[in-house]
Amino acid sequence: MLSKSQARAFFLGGTVVTFMAFIGLTIYSFRPQNDQTHHDKIDAQVIRGKHLWETNNCMGCHTILGEGGYYAPELTKVVERKGEEYIKIVLQSKVPWEPNGRKMVAYAMNDEDTQAMIAYFKWIGGIDLNGFDRIVSPLSKDKQ
């Protein structure tokens, strides 16, 4: 039968080996040739957009890249699906946007912030998502 020290060795050994593999794969994922995000296209606008995304906790209702709340639509590919004009109206609205009976927070954003958000969505929309973008927002493909 298994002894306690063998059990401990199994625990320590398994942990060390898988942890090393995890670090190795992390380094591999972040090598420039394995990048799927067009990392070089992140400019000041995109960064500002991300900042706005965070400070307003948009992710508390919407998902992006499939992550976030399940209360409001996925926003990956939203520019392709809805167009810039529509996004602008939603973000700049002074009363809660409510096209289908569910309210969004009224952000009343200025032009600069709105442009930053759109830049951010465009950068997100260009990421290679291993096929997820076709499933989650099928309409974006139909419109093309």
């Binding site: 298994l2 306690k4 059990a7 401990r8 199994f10 625990f11 398994g14 942990t15 898988t18 942890f19 593999a21 995890f22 794969l25 992390t26 591999y28 994922s29 990048d35 799927q36 995000t37 992140i42 995109v46 960064i47 991300k50 995304w53 965070e54 400070t55 906790n57 992710m59 508390g60 209702c61 998902t63 890249l65 499939g66 992550e67 976030g68 709340g69 399940y70 209360y71 409001a72 639509p73 996925e74 809660p96 096209p99 289908n100 009976g101 569910r102 309210k103 927070v105 951010y120 997100i124 990421i127 290679d128 998502l129 291993n130 096929g131 997820f132 499933i135 989650v136 099928p138 309409l139």
Partner: protein, 446 residues
């Protein structure tokens, strides 16, 4: 209770009860918003309610883990806590940081990063607080008379949980990199180091409640936490399939995360087997129900329901839908909420000296909350599966589908009412036990 300083745990448990109550209130706010009753929108929009709901969950569970450590470590190390005064200071500062964060969420003071909404400035205070906690626990453990495996696994879990908080505090320009390291906190917590904490508490409770030999229990504890890390570390890859990280994770994440249920299966078998083998003479049956219950429900919620959407082929369709919410509720409930409620049920009679552990109320609390949560899980699950079909297979518009499934949220709210009734009864029992008492030192059951 063998050591006076174990009383500190009581106040952590009391804070737990308070935060848990608030968590449920915010759950109801979201549930009602989902069936169109969003009258609170101007003051508590959905994103505020959600941040409060999930953060309160994490904070009350951590508070429970801390209380558990303050109760368990002195007994395992066979000495008093190195400082009771500092333990109270730690408790109060924890409560203050928690309250500031929760209030801040109502005033746009947050970072919109799912589960890690606490703003950066407050993160530093969290770190200081946790360092103080670890100092007290590790200081007690390493100056004590013995260092048991149970105590080591529990403390190791707490220490790693603190370390893993750090990658979540780095700013990244890329949303993808940000998410990548956010999972080092969220995933490696719940499917890694928190399982060590759970395993440690479970092992302590089984030793106390079943009377089975410590050596046997602790041997299997090593096997369980071994399986946890073996599968869970590389299993992080199941969050990297579709967020713009390299394809290599489809294979690595798929294989290793599919093995993750083994650790939970082992935990369930372990608990049931030790119970069968044990004497069954311990009077605190309610604590026993919560303990065995945690081991079994965590296997269903985390193991089976996690497995249900962890393969890349299924996750492609379920990623970011209500299917995830179904799993999130039952996994957190079974694994972490129930184990905290188990240690509280075990500790209360010992801390207060009042033996209320055969009261019908306590059993009712167990069954009502469990039936309620099972019903909620089914409601989320049906809503989620319908959402996946209509939105992702048939390509219908998001909001059209949401309107179709809103009926399942009526069911959710009914089950949530059952659940909340159970929890209310649990809290009433908690209050009836009264304050801790030094007389409890002599009337101990174990």
């Amino acid at each position: 209770m063998k050591y006076k300083s174990q009383k500190v745990a009581y106040w952590f448990f009391a804070l737990c009860m308070l935060l848990f109550t608030l968590q449920i209130v915010y759950g109801f706010i979201m549930g009602f918003a989902r069936i169109g009753m969003d009258g609170l929108h101007d003051f508590i929009p959905f994103n505020t309610a959600r941040a409060v709901h999930t953060n309160l969950l994490v904070v009350w569970l951590l508070t429970g883990f801390m209380g558990a450590a303050y109760y368990i470590i002195p007994e395992e190390a066979q000495r008093e806590l190195i400082s009771v005064k500092w333990a109270y200071i730690q408790l109060i500062s924890l409560a203050v940081v928690g309250v500031v964060a929760i209030v801040g969420y109502h005033f746009n003071y947050w970072e919109g990063r799912k589960f890690l909404e606490i703003p950066r400035e407050l993160d530093y205070l969290v770190v200081v607080n946790v360092l103080l906690f670890l100092g007290l626990i590790l200081g007690t453990l390493f100056t004590g008379k013995r260092k048991t495996t149970t105590a080591l696994v529990l403390s190791m879990g707490l220490l790693f949980a603190a370390l893993l908080y750090l990658p979540g505090m780095i700013w990244f320009d890329s949303q993808v990199t940000d998410s990548f390291f956010r999972w080092w906190v969220v995933h490696l917590w719940v499917e890694g180091v928190w399982e060590l904490i759970m395993g440690g508490i479970l092992s302590y409770l089984l030793i106390k409640l079943t009377g089975v030999d410590r050596e046997v229990i602790e041997k299997w504890l090593y096997v369980i936490v071994g399986l946890t890390f073996l599968s869970g570390i590389l299993g992080t890859g199941h969050h990297y399939y579709y967020i713009g990280v390299n394809k290599i994770w489809l294979i690595v994440g798929g294989i290793f995360s599919a093995l993750e249920p083994l650790a939970f299966l082992a935990m369930a078998l372990f608990a049931v087997y030790m119970y069968r083998k044990g004497e069954k003479s311990h009077p605190n049956k309610i604590a026993l129900f919560w303990t065995i219950g945690a081991a079994i429900v965590s296997f269903i919620g985390a193991g089976l329901l996690g497995f249900a959407h962890t393969l890349p082929q299924t996750n492609l369709y379920t990623h970011g839908t209500l299917v995830t919410a179904m799993h999130g509720h039952y996994a957190f409930w079974g694994a972490y909420a129930m184990i905290v409620l188990a240690i509280i049920s075990y500790a209360l009679p010992n801390i207060t000296g009042r033996k209320r552990h055969d009261k019908t109320n306590g059993h009712m609390a167990f069954w009502l909350s469990n039936i309620g949560m099972l019903g909620m899980t089914v409601a989320f699950g049906v809503a989620g599966v319908v959402q996946v079909y209509m939105e992702r297979k048939m390509g219908l518009d998001f909001m059209k589908v949401q309107n179709e499934i809103s009926i399942h949220f009526v069911v959710l709210l009914l089950c949530a009412t059952l659940f909340a009734t159970g929890i209310t009864m649990y809290i009433i029992e908690f209050i009836k036990y009264g304050k801790p008492s030094d007389e409890a030192m002599t009337t101990d059951t174990h």
